[in-house]
Symmetry: C2
Subunit: 358 residues, 2 copies
């Protein structure tokens, strides 16, 4: 077995600060469980690179990433010098699309030691996944403006979904639900308002469901579904959603657990035809960059998700994943804490504490 | 001064149960403050009507509503007999569009006596308005399916915005903010992902803002904005949003105050070229219909909003609005309570208590 080959892309801002801690945890876990892993470091996919080269990535970025098993990604964005839509569409969104990372997987979980903004909720009360479609849908540059600059000006924005795209996303969601005790999929819809695409999504879900008789399917309109993330979070197990709805729900969910700074994500190509990408959900956070106070847990947790994906949920990789998660849980419970959780520890101190616990 | 003419449309389910209490409160308030008001009752815009006539409303519905100053609307929907998209597009959504009710105004407020799902928040901590565009945007039947039934099947859904539509909505939001102490507008955007319409909305907001130098404008992406409704609700004063984003935020906001069953709304035509429509945000709730246990406060509060709109925020109507709100506050604080708030009172008992307090 050849070692796993990981492309390391710290990106911008606190991405550069949390990445070393992500790697520290990976080193500890792979060492402990005898997993062979190799890193290759890249400076591009960053606004620093843009400043020097006028683009976010070299033209041969795909060739340079040839043979990589996964991308370990910090954060991208430095709006003071590069507008967000340029930096994002030129790197992260490009990876998601060109590497066909069609599932954006985001766990939502309440931890002991993290103050929960919802009243009266305890660890165990909130534990679900948002499974977000990640390559099509509402995020497009299709459409345009008519009668620009006049009173009659109007704009059309198109959303595009494919049967293949919807069904493979739903299949992933049903399979994930099947592997969990509650076996329950919620589809985020809005078929009572968005009259073409959303009834169509409802039908795709009904169709895919047929292959999973043991999994329940519940379709909820995005308005009331968002409300229930706050009011009845215990209802949810696996939540399948379009790109936009998934984007909203995967910020809202972590917010309800007080962990928006701790949330990891996997941008997955489950077919393994291209490398998948693992990144914290928090961005580059220019406001706190340079102080070494960013919480590295989202980065570390993303690394654990990466190992689990590489190992297909089994063997040494699964054990390494579980050990990292246990270490995260222990540190969240017992400290040290970074300032976002009311402590005084640095990014480095937190990373060292997690690594020690692994 | 001729009396205000109000069309009363109870609709379906608990709409029929809360409507009498809405009228009871209006009667008490208009009597106390000497406001002349006349009602005209309609059985249509309901699924019962659909069952008898195969349509939600008579063909001459507009003629029948001729001369009405406002529509006082219960709830529509009875999915057991009429699919939601038929009942909604055949009544409520028709009113919103054909009467050009381009603002959907939804207050979000934390009350004493209502358990708040957010930890540690007190009345006063949450107090903002969602100003939702109500006539265009993401809710369209434009688009279609290609290669239906094959592997290549794809669907396009179009969203449509007009400059007139966006600017009048934003103007309303800025004016509302100008009348409030904090003078702050948040625009819900997603210009880093939805690449045509959302940067365009950002520009519309910048343009409209120029006329309101004393009002601050803050653009936030819908994902993090939703998270902040939970984490930092005190940030918000007036939140302007497209039809879809406003739909989500105006369910999520009330959820964070524990008042999703209490939330009122005004579907406003601020130009007064057509009647405006006032309705509770809760739907027809088939599951609790027939037991006389629905909480009528959303209906009553919607009536107060109606009077305030009819009186242009001044004089006897404003006093009547304030008196109804004070009565709602008193009943929420001191009881009686309907089962949704942990009590045993009936819909009627609650309505009587509010009316007594007026
Ligand atoms: C019932 C539905 C079509 C409606 C909407 O989305 O507008 C409702 O959710 C609302 O918010 O008034
Ligand atoms: C930065 C932005 C384009 C991105 C998205 O919306 O996909 C982010 O919010 C995320 O969720 O990963």
């Amino acid at each position: 077995n050849r070692p796993f080959r990981i492309a390391v892309l710290p990106g911008d801002g606190i991405g550069k600060e949390v990445m070393p801690e992500g790697l520290r945890a990976l080193d500890a876990a792979t060492k402990r469980f005898g997993i062979a892993i190799e890193y290759r470091h890249f400076e591009w996919a960053s606004c620093d690179y843009y400043a020097a080269h006028g683009k976010m990535m070299p033209d041969d970025w795909k060739a340079q990433l040839q043979g990589m098993d996964a991308l370990f990604f910090g954060a991208v964005g430095w709006p003071a010098t590069v507008p967000d839509h340029v930096s994002l569409w030129g790197s992260l969104l490009k990876f998601r699309r060109e590497f066909d990372q069609y599932v954006n997987l985001r766990p939502v979980r309440l931890f002991e030691g993290v103050p929960c903004p919802l009243a009266g909720r305890k660890p165990g009360d909130i534990d679900y996944f948002v499974v977000r479609e990640n390559t099509e849908g509402e995020y497009t540059s299709l459409g345009g403006v008519m009668y620009e600059g006049t009173e009659r000006e109007m704009v059309i924005q198109e959303s595009v979904y494919s049967r293949v795209g919807a069904q493979r996303l739903l299949k992933f969601a049903f399979e994930l639900a099947q592997s969990r005790p509650r076996k329950h999929v919620t589809l985020a819809t809005k078929s009572n308002g968005i009259a073409i695409s959303m009834p169509w999504w409802d039908r795709q879900a009904d169709e895919v469901k047929k292959a999973y008789p043991d999994v329940a399917l519940d379709k909820q309109h995005i308005d009331i579904l968002s409300a229930r993330f706050v009011l009845q979070p215990g209802r949810f197990d696996v939540v399948a959603a379009t790109n936009l709805f998934g984007d909203i729900l995967s910020d809202l969910g972590p917010a309800t657990t007080g962990t928006i700074g701790l949330a990891p994500s996997g941008n997955l190509n489950p077919d393994r035809t291209f490398p998948s990408l693992f990144e914290p959900v928090h961005g580059s956070a220019p406001d706190i960059y340079g102080q070494n106070i960013a919480n590295p847990i989202a980065m570390i947790w993303s690394g654990a998700m990466m190992l689990d994906f590489l190992g297909r949920g089994e063997g040494a990789c699964r054990q390494a994943h579980d050990a990292i998660l246990a270490a995260i849980e222990a540190v969240l419970r017992d400290g040290p804490r970074t300032p976002d959780l009311g402590g005084k520890a640095s990014t480095t101190e937190l990373g060292e504490a997690v690594a020690r616990n692994i």
